[in-house]
Symmetry: none
Subunit: 76 residues, 2 copies
DNA sequence: GTGTATTTGTTCGTATGTATC
DNA sequence: CGATACATACGAACAAATACA
C-alpha cells in the first residue's frame, strides 16, 4: 500500500499524481487502460474525493490521461 | 472581459461584488436568476476561490442574493 | 423493460496554513 | 496585529450517463 505523506514537500494531490504517473511511466498502467476510479483512489490513498479529483485534473493537464464522463479515466 | 484591478481602491472581492451588484441593478441579472458559479467567477475575474466566496458572502450580507447549498446563488 | 449500482460532473460549506500589506 | 488573498484539503449533496443484474 503506497500511502501518502501528509507532511511531505508535495501536497497530497501531487503525491498521488506522482504515484500514478510513475505507474504509467514504468508500464504498470498501459495505454488505453483505465486508472482506478475516484472511489478506489479515495480508499487506496485515504484522501478525500476533492483531492482525488485534483489529482486526476493534474494528470489530465499533464496530458497523461483522458477522462470520459460516467466511464472513467484512461491512460493516453 | 471584465478583469478586475488588483491595485484598485477596493479589494478584489469588493470589485467583483460591485460588478455583480451592478448587473443586478441594471437588470442584466434578474430576480430569481442564478449568478455564475464560483468556478465561473474564478475564471472570469481571475481571482481565487476564497475571494469569490467572500464576494458572494458580501452580496448575501447586502441582501442581494441567496445561496442554496449544492444549487447555486440566486438574485433576490 | 426496470431498477440499482457505478462513475464522473458540479456545487456549496468549512477549515488550516502561508504570504503580504 | 488585522485584513486580504491564495493554495490545499475534507465534507456533503445532487445530477446525469452508463453498466449490469
Amino acid at each position: 500500500m503506497s500511502r501518502i505523506d501528509p507532511t511531505g514537500k508535495l501536497p497530497p494531490y501531487r503525491q498521488v499524481a506522482e504515484i500514478i504517473a510513475g505507474q504509467i511511466r514504468d508500464g504498470r498502467l498501459r495505454k488505453g487502460e483505465r486508472i482506478p476510479s475516484e472511489s478506489e483512489l479515495i480508499e487506496k490513498y485515504e484522501v478525500s474525493r476533492s483531492t482525488v479529483r485534483r489529482t486526476v485534473a493534474y494528470l489530465r493537464d499533464q496530458g497523461l490521461v483522458e477522462t470520459v464522463p460516467t466511464r472513467g479515466t484512461y491512460v493516453l
